[in-house]
Assembly symmetry: D2
Homo-oligomer: 105 residues x 4
């Protein structure tokens, strides 16, 4: 069971070991995040909307989706770290705010 | 310490309780993810690149970043769930692949 | 019939008259473009895929799509101008390259 | 001087000649647009913000930017066409609305 903290730490070490911190300002990371989101949407764009779930059970889409969803997550975790946001705590708080904003019937 | 599994379960219940599963096909979720990424980039776009980290330590940017980073994460977690990807496991595997592809010096 | 050159000139004057050139470096404009793309996808995300064209014939979607498509275009035109790309000429050249890459049957 | 109408007509013919209209529903085109935006941001993400304009004067960045800006434009023009928006007219109207909203000093 993967925690956001462990991914944050892994990304922090990965960046440090390669001396890439100088590239990781927030605006650059946001652009990199968008690049990965674009690779994710490219996997889906021409698939019939009703077929995606079934296609995603099989290769090669299954692995490709795992890779691109992961790339988005890793840059998101890294961006949160660089701007000093505890992403796991923020997400739990946002879930509660969403529940209050949209009460279940 | 928030796990991706707990966020997935919370989003799954949130969606189910509102009967919103019918909206959550992968292509629609991907578009919603992009919408949240856009709200995130709007926070950063006109800030001087070198000032963002310091500005993010203070309100209102601190809370706004937490909210928008969270919205991106929540839709990402939901999209991964809908297409049957174990996002935490996939991200750990991708980190290892990235390390192999870009060996530390 | 609107030319890309006239939109470029209008954006150039709009920016100059407000002394906003200092904000319009390419990375900032790219983030702003993404923000507008996000506003566009938010209009579409929860609509049934097969209903969008019919819904877009009526208000309020018709006007909203016009506005958000325009915002994306205006930042795209502005970004192209700032990086010195003749967007109309580049697009015509890309169309020809696409036709060569994907020959019609 | 390229008009948006001529690009729209070229994209319409390109799509028709390949029998690709069945893929071009608005949500799919929006995802394709995001994919191209991602390819554009990937060109910029790690460049020093202050160096992009100078780098864009030289190859290979110059041609690469022209291609990716064009791909975004072509899908934007196609999406506008499919949802029945006159993009040139809408953009001119949006420019006027922006000028009214942000009066020049």
């Amino acid at each position: 069971m993967t925690s956001l903290d462990s991914l944050r730490d892994a990304m922090r070490k990965f960046t440090h070991d390669r001396d890439w911190e100088r590239f990781h300002d927030p605006k650059s990371l946001a652009l990199a995040l968008v690049g990965e989101v674009g690779e994710l949407t490219e996997l889906l764009q021409w698939l019939p909307a009703g077929d995606v779930v079934a296609l995603a059970e099989k290769e090669p889409l299954r692995s490709r989706l795992g890779e691109e969803l992961s790339d988005v997550l890793l840059y998101l975790v890294r961006l949160a770290d660089v701007v000093g946001v505890d992403l796991g705590e923020a997400a739990m708080r946002k879930m509660q705010a969403n529940s209050a904003k949209h009460p279940a019937p």
